[in-house]
Amino acid sequence: MSQENILEIENLVMHFGGIKALNDVTFDIKRGSVSALIGPNGAGKTTVFNCLTGFYKATGGGIMLNAGDKPTSVIKVLGEKFKGSDLVSPAAFFERVKYKMFGGSHLVNRAGLARTFQNIRLFKEMSVVENLLVAQHMIVNRSMLAGILNTESYKKTEEEALQRAFYWLEVVHLTEFANRLAGELSYGQQRRLEIARAMCTNPEIICLDEPAAGLNPSETEALASMIRVLRDEHNTTVLLIEHDMGMVMNISDYIVVLDHGEVIAKGGPEDIKSNPKVIAAYLGAEEGEDVTL
């Protein structure tokens, strides 16, 4: 297991019928970094996220997640087709059957990858705290009997879950809204709550899809410092999609640029800023024309 890279994406291909959303996308994400995935509208950024969080089954390529105690192949846990070689190897066959029946994107989260969505997906008719409690489903005591009898050990884990929820509410400055319905919050608050909810699953890497969309400049500033807190205090690797170039250049250690389903550049902010291909893709200009980001 590679200690250096938490995520390794290799030759990822995703086709929707005739639409080639991703052709051969390859990049690695370093553990403990803040990385950004940028590109013009429709470049395929959200599609990359959906593939690596297991919501789309990639048409081809590999995704390795080096988190938890062992590396996870995202393609495998979603359930693959049976192969001829399964006939001679019962172990491989049963593993495939297991993932076909019980596999799915939830296993990617359990392996240590959490995400937020471009179009916010909160549990709108549940309270803010409850949103965070649901996220801790895999951590709390799920025994039906203990819960119904309200045993001491059950109460203890529930209390711990509540404390963890309030911890994250403090981080995203939503403590005073704890008992409001998630759907009643303002747009910026909902975005922050979604990040807190994803963090409640104790991930090693968090993927944020346009976290600054719809935020005003001061909110964006607060978000940037929050992202730094995630990396510095919680050792969480952050991968984000963002259109706000100021913020991207400001906080990212590493940037991958996507256009028409292909990686056209990757590197540090300085390299990207001056890369003529990137400038051309963003401004629709011919290569070599003199434009600046």
Partner: protein, 424 residues
């Protein structure tokens, strides 16, 4: 005509005439024409009465909403907050006082009430159980299940056939039926719960019908439309019959003279305790991880998956628990009727249970209890109008959807006191 004087009789009369014409179109063919062999009998007077009532009502409403208090009423109705709300952390529900009173009344009632009232209340309680079961599936987990009656039938036939073929009595079948219905729910659920909304509704509708058709047509095993008799419960082996083939019956043991009400009192008491237990479990479930997961799944399945919840298993647990509650209700229904046949398990029954859940307020426990009694006890009380039962049912649904689209009882969520946040 000035705006301030308010009441505009002309427009009220116009509304009244339109309502009258609509009533004529709706009720004319339904009420006014009676088929008698190949002949029609016109019943003009009934139609006239109904249309007159509708017109009078429409006129009254039309005038009322133009008065000052009427305007206020309409304003209040339109601006009312009717959604979900979160209670304050230190909020204590008034139910604390109401529940003990209801329990005491419920335990005393059977010894005072007449046998007829008792049978009606037993029926009401059976529907409370059914409503609670379906409420887990539809109200909490958001899975539209149109074949819930299938699990009810499994419970009822489980008791009747278990007694006939295996000699199992009420007490052994009560848990067994819950398990059987739960297993049936799981077996049906595992393949179909990957589907969404409409597809799931169609598959479950089919399941309910298949169960009924199997019960009707597998005559060697189920006696088909003739039905099967079901045993009564026993009290530590004492039977509630006039004469018992083995052992002394209940009334002889206690030196009482035989009264057929005894068995209803006993069924009622057992049922009452089971309903209380189910209510308690349901109350706990909504505050437990699994209950929260159900509701989260109803709100957003994709977000649930992104948080590591296995959506199929979460749905399956809701489906299974709902089904086993339905199975328990079936056992009580069979023992209460003493006889089951397939005609008790038609689609109309599924629709009625669904109506209980919707009227009560999706996910609201209290709402389900009230709605179950309204929808089962009211038709019994209004026996004279039995022909119009479905019609009244429809009117009630329409009225509810206009005034209280989110159900009778507003859903509240528990608030949590602010704590010091701690990591790990």
């Amino acid at each position: 005509m000035s705006q301030e004087t308010g009441i505009n009789i002309g427009s009220s009369i116009k509304d009244t005439i339109i309502a009258g014409l609509l009533a004529l179109i709706v009720f004319g063919p339904v009420v006014g024409v009676l088929l008698d062999g190949y002949e029609f009998i016109a019943r003009i007077d009934d139609v006239v009465w109904i249309v007159a009532i509708v017109m009078a009502g429409r006129f009254a409403i039309s005038v009322f909403v133009q008065t000052e208090s009427g305007k206020k009423f309409v304003y209040r109705q339109l601006t009312k907050e009717d959604g979900v709300s979160v209670t304050a952390p230190d909020y204590k529900s008034k139910m604390r006082y109401i529940i003990p009173i209801v329990i005491v009344i419920g335990l005393i009632a059977p010894f005072i009430a007449s046998k007829y009232v008792l049978t009606v209340v037993i029926l009401g309680l059976i529907y409370v159980l059914l409503g609670l079961g379906l409420n887990i599936v539809v109200g909490l987990a958001g899975l539209l299940d149109l074949g819930f009656v299938g699990f009810y039938a499994i419970g009822a036939y489980g008791l009747a056939l278990g007694y006939e073929y295996l000699g199992l009595g009420f007490w052994s079948m009560l848990p067994l039926a819950a398990i059987m219905a739960g297993v049936a729910g799981a077996v049906l659920g595992f393949p179909v719960l990957r589907m969404h909304g409409d597809y799931l509704a169609i598959v479950t509708l089919g399941f309910g019908e298949i169960i009924r058709l199997v019960l009707t047509n597998w005559t060697e095993f189920t006696h088909g439309p003739n039905g099967v008799s079901a045993p009564l419960p026993t009290l530590f082996g004492l039977e509630f019959k006039r004469r018992s083939s083995d052992g002394t019956p209940f009334h002889e043991f206690f030196g009482l003279s035989y009264d057929s009400a005894f068995k209803y009192i006993f069924i009622y008491l057992v049922l009452f305790l089971v309903v209380l237990a189910v209510l308690y479990v349901k109350h706990r479930l909504t505050r437990m991880p699994i209950g929260r997961a159900w509701e989260a799944l109803r709100e957003d399945e994709i977000a649930c998956r992104s948080l590591g919840l296995n959506h199929v298993l979460v749905k399956l647990s809701a489906f299974t628990l709902g089904a086993s509650t339905g199975g328990i209700a079936g056992v009580f229904f069979a023992t209460y009727q003493g006889f089951v046949n397939p005609s008790s398990f038609t689609f109309f029954e599924s629709a009625l249970i669904l109506a209980i859940v919707v009227l009560g307020g999706m996910g609201s426990t209290l709402g389900v209890v009230i709605a179950a009694f309204v929808l089962t006890v009211a038709p019994e009380m209004l026996r004279e109008f039995a022909d119009y039962r479905v019609l009244m049912f429809g009117i009630l649904m329409v009225v509810m959807m206009i005034w209280k689209p989110r159900g009778l009882v507003r859903v509240t969520r528990k608030g949590f006191a602010t704590r010091k946040g701690v990591m790990k």
